[in-house]
Amino acid sequence: MVGTAAVSVAAANAGASAQAQSTTATIDRHSTQVSFTVNGTRRELTVDNRTTLLDALREQLALTGTKKGCDHGQCGACTVMVDGRRINSCLSLAVMHEGDEITTIEGLGTTSDMHPMQAAFVRHDGFQCGYCTPGQICSSVAVLEEIAAGIPSHVTEDLAAQMQVTDAEIRERMSGNICRCGAYANIIAAINDVAGRPA
């Protein structure tokens, strides 16, 4: 990051294993240039290899909509979509996202043009302090897609049948997003609303 020279991706790839064995490691080898797309915009940055995707978003790209609740995969506040799949951005290195398409809460909508899920969260009061909320919303959007794609969950009764959107399915699939304010019942209502199910 600060004070380090940019290394090209090719050089980092070719050189790293040799460098690891050399005794004259310089700081340069501990950072890497990476480029990925965030909310439709291509971003190129040099990151300390240790930088998580979460910290790259928050600290380098100033996209602080994605939250850090635990930094250890235990809360879901850092949920973003990478190539259409939700992940915990705190347990993923930025350097491992070369070429990826990343969508964060900022990419879903804005205060004046909210994504239907964001609007439903406001309508149903699916949050209180708001800190888990971006993660909940990214997960909510992804959960409906996962059900549509037929990905099974712990509560899916028949693994062979067509997956249904049910309260039980939503609850189970949303369980990787903790809300200590306890807005769960309202979040389910918001997701059902977007899914076109009676609340």
């Binding site: 460098q19 501990h30 240790r50 997960s139 990787g176």
Partner: protein, 316 residues
């Protein structure tokens, strides 16, 4: 997290060679366990080899009628695979009982097998732990042990292996396929893959330094009802207190493996003949020699009752 250099592996053998030559190098797959531990400096590699680009992300039918699961297949994709859902239901069930949707989207087959214990003392670098720092002592013994192991434990370590997937694989008699730096491949039966803690709790698997997992192979499907019951305090996103993977045939015979009780997925084939005689009889053999603490002794009852529920549910 210490500084490390990073490279993307181009072939399994060269990746294996790089790690074999460097005791401080590690593979990284989904990163969901390794990075967690690196942040706490429980793991301190100085070089990471990203194995995601190796093309090991396919699930293929084997000639023998089984499935070969690439080491980099994500837990979500494995659980959702039509063949797995149809023929290896216990595996799908175990996978979706683990972690969260987000984590399963990243977690890989190999990484899941190699995830390390959730013993809380292992996770706190201020505390002595033989697994983290050989010879330093085991803080868990005599401490908070509700989550910890009851069989196959030693005086050096009573940790459990936290994987759900591995328990199902144990019931399915899976084989772990590897490549070493010299290009030599091995097929390690899952029964021999994870080790008991003994005097060397820091040595957890049969892998050599640098040996890379390329796949997990499942034998042809085992007929019967496939069940995975994971018992935990909260309803989701929690590790198992006890889990039971079972395949039960209509005549009541079948297979049982336990999670949450030992340093490895726990199965005693000799106990399975007793399945038609009920859970209590099975557990007597399965948990023979159990060494419990006041806090985790309930796991014995829990395992038995969980199996009893499965046997009841799969009757007829």
């Amino acid at each position: 997290m210490r500084q490390f250099t990073y490279e993307r592996a181009t072939s399994a053998a060269s990746a294996a060679a790089a790690v074999a030559d460097n005791g401080n190098a590690k593979f990284i797959a989904g990163g969901t366990n390794l990075l967690d531990l690196m942040k706490l400096e429980i793991e301190t590699p100085t070089h990471l080899i990203d194995v995601n680009g190796l093309g090991l992300d396919k699930i293929e039918a084997t000639e023998k009628g089984g499935l070969k699961i690439g080491a980099l297949v994500r837990n979500t994709d494995l659980a959702a695979d039509e063949r797995v859902r149809r023929d290896y239901g216990v595996l799908t069930r175990a996978l979706v009982a683990g972690a969260s949707g987000q984590l399963r989207n990243k977690a890989t087959t190999a990484g899941n097998l190699l995830q390390r214990t959730r013993c809380p003392y292992f996770y706190d670098t201020n505390q002595p732990c033989n697994k983290r720092q050989p010879g330093s002592g085991c803080s868990a013994i005599g401490g908070v042990t509700r989550q910890l192991g009851i069989v196959g434990v030693s005086d050096q370590c009573i940790a459990t292996h936290p994987s759900d997937m591995a328990v199902a694989m144990r019931a399915l008699d899976a084989t772990v396929e590897t490549v070493k730096s010299d290009g030599v491949t091995r097929s390690i039966p899952i029964a021999d893959f994870h080790r008991l803690p003994g005097d060397t709790p820091h040595i957890e698997t049969a892998l050599d330094q640098g040996e890379i997992i390329t796949a997990v192979t499942l034998p042809p499907p085992v007929a019967g009802r496939h069940v995975y019951r994971k018992v935990r305090d909260r309803a989701s996103y929690a590790f198992a207190l006890v889990s039971v993977a079972a395949i039960v045939r209509p005549d009541g015979t079948g297979r049982v493996a336990l999670g949450g009780v030992a340093h490895k997925p726990w199965r005693v084939e000799a106990a399975e003949a007793d399945m038609p005689n009920g859970a209590a009889t099975v557990m007597r053999k399965l948990l023979d020699g159990a060494r419990t603490t006041e806090e985790n002794e309930f796991k014995v009852t829990l395992a038995e009752r969980t199996l009893a529920g499965i046997l009841e549910e799969t009757k007829g």
